[in-house]
Each structure stands twice: as C-alpha cells, then as structure tokens.
Symmetry: C2
Subunit: 301 residues, 2 copies
Amino acid sequence: MTTQKPTILAGIEAGGTKFNCVVANAVGDILHQQIFPTRLPEQTLTDVAAYFTSQSQRFGTIGALGIASFGPVDLDTRSPQFGHILSTPKVGWSHYDLRGFFAKTFAAPIGFETDVNGALLGEYTQGAAAGLRHAAYVTIGTGIGAGFLVNGQLLQGLSHPEIGHSFLARHPQDSFIGNCPFHQDCVEGLAAGPAITARWGASNSLPPDHAAWSLQAFYVAQLCVNITHFIGPEVIILGGGVMQQAHLFPLIRAEFKRLINGYCSEALLQRLDTYIVPPLLGNNAGQIGALYLAARALQGD
Amino acid sequence: MTTQKPTILAGIEAGGTKFNCVVANAVGDILHQQIFPTRLPEQTLTDVAAYFTSQSQRFGTIGALGIASFGPVDLDTRSPQFGHILSTPKVGWSHYDLRGFFAKTFAAPIGFETDVNGALLGEYTQGAAAGLRHAAYVTIGTGIGAGFLVNGQLLQGLSHPEIGHSFLARHPQDSFIGNCPFHQDCVEGLAAGPAITARWGASNSLPPDHAAWSLQAFYVAQLCVNITHFIGPEVIILGGGVMQQAHLFPLIRAEFKRLINGYCSEALLQRLDTYIVPPLLGNNAGQIGALYLAARALQGD
C-alpha cells in the first residue's frame, strides 16, 4: 500500500553570515529548522540542498520554496539576471544565480525576495503589520535596508528600495565624515552599526545615556520622516542589530515628533507608540516571511 | 424626434491661482476649455459649475468628472474627509469639501486626485511616462510636490506623497537657513522657488550662469537620488515653474551622476537624458490627467 506524501514548504532566510533554513507543513507550522554558516556559494548551497532533501524524505514532498535573500539582488522577473545576487563585496557571491541553483535542484516553484522584504512579509502575516495595508520595515545593522508594503503589495520599481544610500541632513554637531565607501555620509555612512563604531569606538556596548544614542535617534527619526513623506505607511517597523537597543525607540519617537513639527495628521502624532515599533516576531520575521513566499509560490502567485 | 445626447467628460485642474476647466468627448478629444481665477470656494466653484452646465447644454451629458486638485487633500476613500482640502494657508479653502461640491451639483461619478498626480497621469497616458510601469513626477515651483506611479498604480499610503517636506543634505557652502515655516531647511525650504528668491533676491530672472543654478541642481539631483532609492521609477519628470529653466536639466543630471556615484545600474547611468526629463505635455499634463481621471471614473474605476 502506498500513501500520497504530504506537501511541505521550504523557507530560506539567506544572510551574509548565515542561511536560516526552515521546513513547514502546508499551513505553515514549522517542522524543523537549521542554520548553516554562509561560505562560498557552492559549499553553502550544497549543505542547504542536502538538508532540504533529507527533510523531504522525513516529512513530505517540497511543494514550494521561499527565499528571502541578502542583496543587492535582481527582483525584476523580466530580467535575465532575475534571482541573481548583484555586485557584492561578499567573496564568491557577485552575480551568483541563487534562485537558479534551487530551481535546478528542486522541481518546485520558488518565491524570491530581499531579506528585508521577507522580514516585512513575516511581520505582515503574523507580526506588527498584521491587518494593515501599508507598512515599512527598516533594518539597521551592518547596513541599512528597507521594504515597503503599499496596499498589501511589496513596492518594487526598477530596483528594490535602497534607502540606506539615500541622503539626509547631517546633525549640526556631528563632525564624523561618514563611512560609506560610495557616498561617505549617506544614511548608511552616518547611521549603520559600523558608522556608530567608527564615530564612538563602540556601538552596542555603549551605555544608554551615551551621546551616541541621541545622535542615532536624530538620524533614524529623520529617515522615518522621509519614509512617512515618500510612502505613507501605517507602521514603521525598525529591526536589525542596532535596534536591539530598546531605549532607542522613545528617543526616535520624540525626535520624529520634533522634526515633523506637525506636518502630518494629528491622529498619527497621538499614536507614535504604535507607529514606530520593533518587530513583533523578533529574529523570526525573516523565516516566517520566507515560508509565506513559499506558500504564495505554491498558490501560483 | 429625439436623439440620445452624447456623453462628455469634464476635467478640472484645480490650482491655487487658477481653475483650468476642460470638456472632452468620450474618447478624450478636447471640445472646449476655460480658465477661472481661484477666489473664495463658493465664488470660484459657482463659475466652474455654470461653465460645465453650459458646455453640457452644448455638447452632451456629463458622464464623469475628473478633479486634480491643489493640496493638501484627503485621498483616503475610507475617510469622512475624503475629497476635502485639508489645512491650507489659502483663505477660505481649509477643510472645504471640494469633491462634495461637484458630487452635489452633478449626478456623475468623480475621479479625485492631487494636482501632481493629475500631471503624472497626463504624462503616463500621453507624455514622458507613456508605456512605462514606474514613474515619478516632481513639481518644483511655489512648493515642491510629487506623485509616484508603481506598476501602473498611483502610490497612495496613509497620505499622498509629501516629499517637499522630507529632509536632505545641505550643501556645505549654503548658509541660507531655509524658509519653510514648518521645518526651515526641508526640501521646500531649501529648493522651492521662494527659497531661491529669499537666497538670491530673484529666481527665474537670474542668468543661466548664476551660482543659484548649480546649487539648485545639487538639491534637485539629491531629491532625484532619494526618489531612485525609495521608489525606483523608470523616469523622473521634473515640472513646475522653477523647472522652466531648461538649462537646469544637464546640471541636475551631472549632479545626479556625481552623487549616486555608481550605486545604481550601469544602464540607468547611460540614459540619464531619458531618466531625468521635463514634462512632454508641458502645462497641459494636468488637464489631460484630469480627463483621464474622468474617463476612469466613467468606467467605474
């Protein structure tokens, strides 16, 4: 007697330091997960493929994969480079066809997005953006990236958002020249983790009352003002390593209020505690988003 | 013998100084147009309504109206203030129910958008964004506003874009404090027409080799970089009174290239002449967009 094997979903949160792999049943309940360190593409992906193959033998047929990848990546489905990593300082990964590897290895549809869009989708399905139409997810760590959801759709123009390399106003007392190798004092060059370390000699180990944090709040709040005026989300979720400093949130909200100076709805000003928030899913947002991408791919979306 | 009267479309480009009114047949051919100076709401709109009534007697039944309005306006169809002007220094217009006036006066569906979204839709249907999926229209005049089209849809979050009040980096040699009454040195406070006049004593009368224009190009180019990184349009159309200075375009493109410093696709850098462009429809973009809004409303969209 043979029985039909159940369909399972495979999710990959592909980061610059680790690949967080997860399998779930068709309704998204997580069955197993494992982390692999990011090395050269072939080494990393051979391990990931072997993992999913073994999980498939255990739990069922892989119906679809969802990949939320570090960037920059080409997300234009009409591009010959769709699903490739673009130019990156990460050794071996420039122009690597990440999506293509899995398309060749598994006969299953694939959902493919940036890591930050993956985290955004995780928060949208089960987290701080659940039930909303418009949302922003900003990650502030080694770099600064963002994903935007407008009317329930990920915003995707010619490229995915790259607001880490947008410009904003320098604080009048900030004499640090910035450390972005492309633009010196763009958002990343002034406010990513390495900029904090370059300016003060440390970052997450600085005490909560250190001047670093009010300056950081100034830059992040300014970025939130710009996101408000460009996109108009209902919530701005701030994640990433730097935002592990929970004491930053009240500082950022106060700076936001000071900087926007009434140029938004009164209703928004009254609810800044629910407008500028940490991820509700914490570090799990990315893998839940990757599973959501797999579920959508399974449905042919 | 009676004949069925043809259906016509009514378009209104509602500006702070004039209401540009136009009627067209069902396929959008313009039949007549007239301009009314903007005064108090009742004075202005009584004239506009009488104009459309007389044009209707002449050409046919008004099937739908399209209104592209000065702002700020409430565009949230679920809001009780949908279609109202919000707080504005324009005497008599704060909280005026502009859309409601026409809904009461004419028994026809109404398409309602910001003036800059109207101009963007005009350029999308017949102008510089025709055939594209993603486009930005920025107007730089008394104020600075923008509309974004992503995948053929106007971007509309909680509010319409208000990028005139976003922040960008000040030029190191610019000591002008800025003249936005809310934020001093936001984009409008540094680069709208009144900021140029406040800084240099004149604006459009300054000669093309005046230092005002290279500074202006720095700010506008920086705004274009931010639009590129937030939205990813295929074209950025720069309109409005300040952009009548055609010599600004090559300066802005050169500054864009310098500021983005390779952090975009090579293909984009190779075609900046078609990326940062003036409106193809010139001053007609708004009325063509208003007619497009009417045509969409007629189709129930």
